[in-house]
Each structure stands twice: as structure tokens, then as C-alpha cells.
């Protein structure tokens, strides 16, 4: 059974501005999908349509056979807490502590008074500590987020997402704001965690090489339409041209390799 099924999903801002058209994708349990495409192809829109941060104009989002597009209010919030999201610019609450940010992943589960007084249930706190240990930030629990580095912040973002006990991860450009080394570490952490928990994920990523390295299945999006769906090995020049447009791909790759060797030497 597929964890997530998108059926003919479309989102049109206006008649001319079509962010997504007829997207149909199945994501199996435990599967990590990389979503690639040029900027403006609708990658973020697609991800945000799944947990209804954006409202699709047409089609269905079936999550564990429940159509999310039909939900609203309480039932939508119940569905959302099982779908965790990791953001490009971390989207942490800068002025709160690391612990509060991780615990905010439990907001969908706790009543308002508990979240207001920061009196979370014992097992939530225990789980939050365990997650912070997993991402290597245990000693930073009481620091304010704005005192952390970029890589550390993204780890807090990951811990917050996992605190939701998610059954699906939506990851929007997790490495865009990070340097190459930290980017790889973060991607490795994410893929490790996903395989530990058998957690399916959709990772929206602009760096094709990084995607190839960590992902078993790639979906190419071009102007809101799925133009490729296959294994990373199938991503050849013709496919890249199809997704991104004309460009000398070998040269880029060659340069990339040179840069890589340079980095390794350094």
C-alpha cells in the first residue's frame, strides 16, 4: 500500500500562472524520493500542497487512504501532525530555546494550556532529549536558537520534525542555506534517520549530485509537470536537458568533480 498517493494534483494561481498540472505520484512506505527541477518548477508548491500549506485547485492527496484535500479544521490538524516538514531556512522560532523548538513538534498532540505553560508530558520531554541526542545537540538544549550555527539549526529542525512521530517527511531544500560540507552531513543524517525508522520522505532539492548520492528515486519537475520519474542512474544528459533546458552537462559534471577533488585535497 502506498503511504502517499497524489492523483491529478493541480494548483493554478491564475489561468496563466499554473504552478502544478496533473501531478500523479505514489510514494511507498520507507521510500525516499528526490524532487528536482529548476527554480519556479513548482517543487515547493507541490510539497506545500501535500500538507495543505497551499491549497491545491484540483486533484487528490491520499495520505494513508485519507483525502487531505477534503479536510479542514480539527481533522486537518490531526492529519498534519503525522506529516512533518523540514524547511530551507530552518524556519525555527529564533527567540525560543532549542528545547522549545523541538517540543513545538508536539503542538498537535497537546492541549493549549500545556503548550502555553511549556508543561509538556513527561514522555514528550524524554523523547525530545533523545532526539536532541540523536542529532548531536544534547548540550545545547537550553540555548536560544539564534545562538546556533546554520548546520546546528537544521538539526534542530530535523529534531522538531521527528518529535511529531511522523509517518511522512516533507523536506524543502534542506541544504540550500548550508555550505557543501554541512549540506552533505545534514543529508546523510536525514537519510540515516529515514532508514532507521522506515520513514518515507519527499526531498525537494536543487543540487542534482547531492540528490543522486542520497536518494533511490528521482522525480523531475518542469513547469509544474512531472517529466521524469525513475532511478538516479537513469538521469542522463537528455533527461537533464528535458528538466532544466539546454546546457553542457558533462562540463558541469567535470568541473564539479574537479572541485570535489580540490575539496578532498584541502
Amino acid at each position: 500500500m502506498a503511504t502517499l498517493q497524489l492523483k491529478n494534483l493541480s494548483m493554478h494561481y491564475s489561468a496563466k500562472d499554473k504552478a502544478l498540472t496533473d501531478v500523479t505520484i505514489d510514494v511507498q512506505a520507507g521510500e525516499i524520493v528526490g524532487l528536482i527541477g529548476p527554480s519556479g518548477a513548482g517543487k515547493s508548491t507541490l510539497i506545500r500542497c501535500i500538507n495543505r500549506l497551499n491549497n491545491p485547485t484540483n486533484g487528490q492527496v491520499l495520505f494513508k487512504e485519507q483525502d487531505l484535500t477534503k479536510l479542514g479544521g480539527q481533522s486537518l490538524r490531526k492529519a498534519r501532525r503525522k506529516i512533518a516538514m523540514i524547511f530551507q531556512e530552518y524556519a525555527l522560532i529564533e527567540r525560543l530555546t532549542v528545547m522549545e523548538n523541538v517540543l513545538s513538534g508536539r503542538l498537535g498532540y497537546v492541549p493549549f494550556w500545556r503548550s502555553l505553560l511549556r508543561k509538556y508530558p513527561e514522555q514528550d520531554i524524554q523523547q525530545a532529549y533523545a532526539l536532541l541526542d540523536r542529532v548531536g545537540l544534547l548540550e545545547h538544549a537550553d540555548k536560544r536558537v539564534d545562538a546556533l550555527s546554520g548546520g546546528q539549526r537544521q538539526r534542530v529542525g530535523i529534531a522538531r520534525a521527528l518529535a511529531q512521530d511522523p509517518e511522512l517527511l516533507l523536506i524543502d531544500e534542506p541544504t540550500a542555506a548550508l555550505d557543501p560540507r554541512t549540506a552533505r552531513q545534514v543529508m546523510r543524517l536525514i537519510s540515516e534517520i529515514c532508514s532507521e525508522r522506515g520513514l518515507p520522505a519527499i526531498i525537494n532539492i536543487h543540487d542534482v549530485n547531492l540528490a543522486k548520492m542520497f536518494v533511490k528515486r528521482i522525480i523531475g519537475l518542469q513547469q509544474g509537470v512531472v517529466v521524469f520519474d525513475g532511478k538516479p542512474q537513469q538521469l542522463d544528459d537528455s533527461v537533464l536537458t528535458l528538466i532544466y533546458g539546454e546546457e553542457d552537462w558533462n562540463q558541469t559534471e567535470q568541473q564539479e568533480q574537479e572541485l570535489e577533488t580540490l575539496r578532498e585535497i584541502a
Partner: protein, 270 residues
């Protein structure tokens, strides 16, 4: 490169019509000012104005030296003045918080109905000076500190709510998305995604307004709403200039003190 003589010898920042237009604009502005000046002064008695330096010398000589012994009657009204400002600010801020959330585009429950009402409350509170509020309140509930406190509070609502709702409208929306995505309820989103982001503005605005309110509450006594202004009014009515100068000195000291306090608070909290 050309010979130096081939380049134009004239350089103008603006074209001819631009200059003409800007001259016309300036001219009409000057004419307006002159006209206003004449209208404003058509009832002015120039004898008094030309006599002002003599008056100034006269009043200054009467003011000096201040009557220091009067100070013992000023401590209580000074204490009242500070209390009017502090309690008034607190009351005003408490009322401003809901108004700000109702007025901000991204948190208001209804753009069509609630937001315009909230904006009108803000505008009305801001356009009416605290002295006028005090005038109304003294007429309604009688003279005393309470009228002063409420007057300060009513004036502060608009000020604090305006700066706060602007801050609410400018918050980072991805943080709101992130909290929304966890399945949080609207109240939880407010608590976790909105409030922490506007906290610095809120504290800064409150301290700033308290500082202004100290100044404003020094004059509320003129219309009977308590504080040092009461003593000022009495002293002016009896032309007791040495007392007036002492009152001025104590007001100055209070204002300097409040500025010091607010600078310390700002440093501590932000």
C-alpha cells in the same frame, strides 16, 4: 578620445522643464506659507510680541531663586505623576494587545468588519491627546488620579497597538508555516510563531511609551487629573514664579530619571 574642446561646456543636473516645475512648486509653497502666516497673525497683538524680551527678563528674575522649601509639598504629586504614567501605561498596553491582533491583516478574524473597527480605535486613540482625554474624563468622573491613569491608558492604546500591529504584519511567514505544519491550533500558532517574533517590538514600544507618558502625565494636573500639574496650576494661578521654577526643575529631574530607567530596561530586556 576626443579633443577637450569637443565636449560640451555646460552641464545641468535637471532639464529646463524640470527646473521650471520645481521653481513653481517652491514658489507656491512659499506663497502658501506667507498666506498662512498672515492669516495666523491677523489677531496677534504685536505690542505683546515686541514686549516679550522684557517680559522674559521680568519673569526670569522673578523665577530665580526657586523656592526650595516648597519641595516638601512636591514629593507626593511627583510620586502620583510617576504612578499615573506607570499604571496608565500598564492598563493601555493590556488593552492594546487584543486591538493589535485584531488590526493586523494576518491575525484579524475578519478583514471586512473587525479590522476597520480596530483601526478606527487606534486612529481615535492616537489623534486625541492625553490632555483632551483627561479633560473629558475629569468632566465625567471628577478630578483625581484615576482620570489621569485612564487618560494615559486611552492615549497609549493607539500608539502601542499601531507599532505592534505593524510588527505583526511584518513577521516571518515561514516560521508560521512551520508551526502550522506541526498540526498546531490557531491559538498555539499565535503563541509559538507570532508572539516570540513580536516580543522585542512589544517590550521596546512599552518602555518607549512609558517614557513619553511620564512627560505627558506632568501636565494632566492642569485639567485636574492629578500629579505635579496640579501644583503647577496653583502656582501659575497665584503667579508664584519661584514655585513654578522649582516645579520645572523637578519635572526636568523626573524626565531625566525616566530616561535613565528606560535606557536601563531596554538594555536588560532586548
Amino acid at each position: 578620445m576626443l579633443n577637450i574642446n569637443d565636449y560640451p561646456q555646460q552641464w545641468e543636473k535637471h532639464s529646463r522643464t524640470q527646473r521650471l516645475l520645481s521653481w513653481l512648486a517652491w514658489l507656491s509653497f512659499v506663497v502658501l506659507c506667507v498666506f498662512c502666516w498672515q492669516q495666523m497673525n491677523h489677531q496677534t497683538l504685536w505690542y505683546f510680541v515686541t514686549d516679550a524680551p522684557n517680559q522674559f527678563a521680568d519673569i526670569s528674575s522673578r523665577m530665580w531663586p526657586p523656592r526650595w522649601s516648597y519641595m516638601e509639598r512636591l514629593w507626593q504629586p511627583l510620586w502620583d505623576t510617576i504612578n499615573i504614567a506607570t499604571l496608565g501605561t500598564a492598563l493601555g498596553v493590556v488593552m492594546a494587545i487584543p486591538v493589535a491582533f485584531l488590526a493586523a491583516r494576518n491575525t484579524t478574524p475578519s478583514q471586512l468588519l473587525v479590522r476597520p473597527i480596530a483601526l478606527f480605535v487606534i486612529a481615535a486613540s492616537r489623534s486625541i491627546n492625553s490632555l483632551i482625554w483627561a479633560l473629558l474624563l475629569v468632566a465625567i468622573m471628577g478630578p483625581g488620579l484615576l482620570a489621569g491613569i485612564i487618560a494615559i491608558a486611552l492615549r497609549s492604546i493607539g500608539f502601542v497597538a499601531k507599532l505592534m500591529y505593524e510588527a505583526i504584519e511584518e513577521i516571518n511567514t515561514t516560521q508560521v508555516s512551520a508551526i502550522t505544519a506541526t498540526g498546531a491550533s490557531p491559538m498555539q500558532i499565535l503563541d509559538y510563531a507570532v508572539v516570540p517574533q513580536i516580543m522585542p517590538t512589544f517590550i521596546g514600544t512599552t518602555i518607549f511609551r512609558w517614557d513619553i507618558n511620564i512627560r505627558e502625565s506632568t501636565v494632566l494636573g492642569l485639567v485636574g487629573a492629578g500629579g505635579i500639574g496640579l501644583r503647577l496650576n496653583e502656582s501659575l494661578a497665584t503667579l508664584a514664579w519661584p514655585q513654578v521654577s522649582l516645579i520645572f526643575i523637578s519635572i526636568l529631574a523626573t524626565v531625566v530619571f525616566s530616561e535613565w530607567v528606560s535606557a536601563r530596561c531596554r538594555k536588560a530586556f532586548i
